[in-house]
C-alpha cells in the first residue's frame, strides 16, 4: 500500500511540468478515477485548502491524500513520491549546468527563454487582477513596488495582509455577510 502511494505520486511528480495548477487534473485522474482513493467531493474541498495553505499545491495535495490513506507513513510516502523525480532531475542539471551555460547555443536558447518566462509570470497577474476591486489592485501594486524596488521581504507583507483580513472580518464581517 505504501509503495502504491509512493508510485502514484512519483508518476504525478514526473509529469507535473509547469507547476501547481497544471497538475490538478492529473492528480484528480490518479487518486479519484484510477485508484478510487478519495471521493470527488473531498478532493474539491481539499483543493481550496491546498491553495490557501502555504507551500506548493502538489506537495499539499500529496500530504492530504497520503495522510488520509495511511496516516504519517502515507503522507511521507506521498511527499517522497512527488519530490524524488524533481530532486533527481534538478540535481543532475545543477551538476552540469555551469559547464554548458556559456556554450553559445545554450546561451542563445536562454536569451529566447528569458522574455518568455516573464510573460508566463505576467499572464496570471492579468487573470487574477481582472474583476478585483480597485483598492485591492492598488494594494497589490504597492506590494509589488515594495518587494521589487525596496527589497522588502514578502513575509512581513503577507503577515500584514493576513492581519488586515482578520481585522476586517472582526469589524465589518457581519455586514458583508461573512
Amino acid at each position: 500500500m505504501l509503495f502504491d502511494i509512493f508510485k502514484t505520486f512519483f508518476k504525478i511528480g514526473v509529469f507535473t511540468f509547469g507547476g501547481g495548477y497544471a497538475m490538478i487534473p492529473l492528480i484528480g485522474a490518479e487518486v479519484i478515477d484510477r485508484r478510487g482513493w478519495i471521493a470527488e467531493k473531498d478532493f474539491l474541498e481539499l483543493l481550496t485548502l491546498a491553495q490557501s495553505a502555504p507551500g506548493p499545491i502538489a506537495l499539499n495535495t500529496a500530504v492530504f491524500v497520503g495522510y488520509k490513506m495511511q496516516r504519517y507513513a502515507g503522507a511521507l510516502a506521498a511527499v517522497m513520491g512527488v519530490v524524488v523525480p524533481s530532486f533527481t532531475i534538478i540535481l543532475i542539471i545543477a551538476m552540469f549546468f555551469s559547464d554548458i551555460r556559456d556554450n553559445q547555443w545554450v546561451d542563445a536558447a536562454f536569451r529566447g527563454m528569458r522574455p518568455a518566462v516573464v510573460a508566463l509570470i505576467v499572464a496570471p497577474v492579468i487573470g487574477l487582477a481582472r474583476g478585483m476591486h480597485a483598492a485591492l489592485i492598488a494594494v497589490a501594486a504597492a506590494v509589488a513596488a515594495a518587494v521589487w524596488y525596496w527589497g522588502f521581504s514578502p513575509v512581513w507583507l503577507l503577515l500584514a495582509g493576513a492581519a488586515a483580513g482578520a481585522l476586517w472580518v472582526a469589524l465589518r464581517g457581519k455586514e458583508a455577510g461573512l
Binding site: F17, A50, A53, V63, R111, G112, R114, V117, L158
Partner: protein
C-alpha cells in the same frame, strides 16, 4: 560549512512556511532570500534557474531548493534545502487534515486568506519586475526588439491557455535561431 547548511535550512524553511499563493508568488520570496539576503545566486543565475524550472517537472520551490542547495553546499546542501522547503507543507497540511477540516468555511480563515490575496498578486508582480529590471546587466530579460516580440507572443499564448512547456520550448528554439544562427 555547518553554519552555511543551517542558514540554507532556515531560509528554505521560511520559504516553505510563507509560500502562499503557489509557484510564481514564491519566486519573489525565493529571490529575496537567495539573491538579496544571502547572495547565494547572482540575479542572472536566478533568472536561469527560473527558466530551467519551467521546463523540468516539479514545483519551482522544490526545484530552486535543490539547485541552490547544490550551488551552496553540494549534494548535502541540496538534500538539506529540499527537506527544509517540504517540512512546513508536510506539518501544516497534516494538521489541517487532522484537526482543522471544520475550519474550512470559518469566516476568519476566509478573511485571512482574502487579506493575503492582493499581497500574493503583488508578489507575482514583483517577481516579473525583478526579471524585467534587474540591477546587473547580465541578468536582463529584454535585450532587443526580439525579446519584446517573444514576450508578446508568449503572453498571448499563455492567456489563450497554450501549454507553458510548449511556449518555453518554442521560445528556446526561437532564441537559437535569432541569436545563434543569424
Amino acid at each position: 560549512m555547518i553554519a552555511t547548511l543551517c542558514q540554507l535550512f532556515a531560509s528554505y524553511l521560511k520559504i516553505g512556511f510563507f509560500g502562499f499563493g503557489g509557484g510564481y508568488a514564491m519566486l519573489s520570496l525565493i529571490q529575496n532570500e537567495v539573491v538579496v539576503q544571502h547572495a547565494w545566486l547572482s540575479e542572472a543565475q536566478f533568472a536561469d534557474i527560473v527558466a530551467v524550472s519551467q521546463m523540468t517537472p516539479g514545483p519551482i520551490a522544490i526545484n530552486s531548493a535543490t539547485y541552490v542547495g547544490y550551488e551552496v553546499a553540494g549534494i548535502v546542501g541540496s538534500v538539506v534545502a529540499t527537506l527544509a522547503v517540504c517540512l512546513p507543507a508536510l506539518t501544516i497540511m497534516m494538521l489541517i487534515t487532522r484537526f482543522f477540516m471544520r475550519l474550512h468555511g470559518n469566516r476568519y480563515v476566509k478573511g485571512i486568506v482574502g487579506g493575503m490575496q492582493p499581497v500574493v498578486i503583488g508578489m507575482i508582480g514583483a517577481a516579473a519586475l525583478l526579471l524585467i529590471f534587474p540591477s546587473s546587466d547580465d541578468a536582463r530579460s529584454f535585450i532587443d526588439a526580439w525579446s519584446w516580440i517573444l514576450f508578446a507572443l508568449t503572453l498571448l499564448g499563455s492567456l489563450r491557455k497554450v501549454n507553458p512547456i510548449l511556449l518555453i520550448l518554442l521560445s528556446a528554439a526561437a532564441g537559437i535561431l535569432i541569436y545563434g544562427v543569424f
